[in-house]
Amino acid sequence: MDPIISLTDLTVCYGTNRALTDFSADLYRGDFVALLGPNGSGKTTILRSIAGFVKPTAGSIRVFGNDATGGIGKEIRKNIGYVPQAHTIDPRAPFSVADVVAIGRFGAAGMGRRLSPEDKKLIQRSLRDTGIAPLADRPVGHLSGGERQKVQIARALCQTPQVLLLDEPTAHIDVKTQDELMDLFKNLHDEHGITIVLVMHDIHNLPTQCNRSIILSHGRKVYDGSARGISPRAILSHLNGSRSAQRVQKTATAAEGRRRHG
């Protein structure tokens, strides 16, 4: 099976700061990948590189078989739903929940064209699937953090993407809403067949559907393998520096081999 996203020897520098070093990974259709690591380890940089918002200093990116190293085209971008880290929105902002979710259909509708009835149906379906249909007319700045995340997920979802990139969607959200979001991701993966790349901090809350974990430390990959191939305690130990990177990588290599051949 050919990878739908292929990152090869990716290095990203912001000025003199090296955020990512020689990162390589192939992502396959149906994957549910968790990118794990402490702050500043390069997780978000990987996600933003795939989404086309970061141009790599070195290395290459291929998305759906197309070279995307210098940025991705509009047509490819429509197939990638991107949910950035939650940020505050001015409570007075003149945008309703439905306005924001509808943005997901704007690219597909075509420049200068009105949304079709089919687009409007997809917007309604996304609102329902994410459980925010009752909030459709509320100003988006009035929502809680969890509700705002659902709005962004609904917006990405109504793009009908093949890949969903989620950047710490459960950060700063209460436990109940975290569970709701995790159930939503499982549903999107199982029912809609969407490939999911999830940046996470909370390793104890990895969804059961997650079939692969990539652990990063200081911009380098230190583990890439089955999500069940390494325990949360082992991840924590590694990230705390009490276990050698070599040992974790050895586990990663074995798990990756099993995954590819099994």
Binding site: K74, I80, R92, P94, A102, M111, H142, Q152
Partner: protein, 272 residues
Amino acid sequence: MGELFGLTFIQHALLACLFGGGGLSIIGVYVVLMDIPFLGISMAHAAFLGAMVSLLLGIDPLVGALVVCALSALVVGPTAEKARASSNVILAILFSATMGGGFLLMSFIPGPKSEALNLIWGSILTISRGEIWLLALLFVTVLLLLIIFFKELSAVLFDREIAASSGISDRMFYYGIIFFAALIISASLNIVGGLLIFTLLVNPASAAYQLTYKLKVMFFLAASFGIVSCLLGLVFSYFFNVPTGAVIVLASSLIFALAFVLSPKRRLARLA
């Protein structure tokens, strides 16, 4: 009052209020929602510098204002795009430098400097038929583009990155906004002048922002407030014999103050 509106220069001024006040306020919605007020100031002062260059060279000030303002857009656009704190510092230095340059060039203009002073403080009553046509053309163009590309523009105004992730050419729309901002600022220089034009960009849009959660309504209110500010300035200055530009600015500030005080959003935002 009927006699007042029968005068040709007053009719020109009324049309300038409609097209200039409306156009600037529509562009102001972009400036306010994209949080790039310094960009507006920088381009307004660049237009003033360009007008001074034109006066020195003996050509139409509008030509110099358009050229220098458009050139400044090429500098301030990418600078503001970085959206870093330092970019505001760069823009602040740029706008003060262009203002300094404008005043320096003004000192070299031989003879009476009434035309140059009009460009500082505005002179809506001396606006020419050609300027009215240009303002009308720009206003209609900006309005049509807003109607045709409303969904793309609304996405860019909400969040450029989210707009881009949906497949919208956010950069094209961003630079389009800056380009038209440069054109309208330059063409409107005579209404309130280079020093005060910035307030007509920001005040009506900021007042509208206080009153509605709907973007379409915000555009409509901003344009209305801009036009009303200009009309109030025109009428008051005629009856009380005071500078029109200054009264326009004060009227727009008063509208903002009223909108801020009466804003239903302040109470709702506290409850949210």
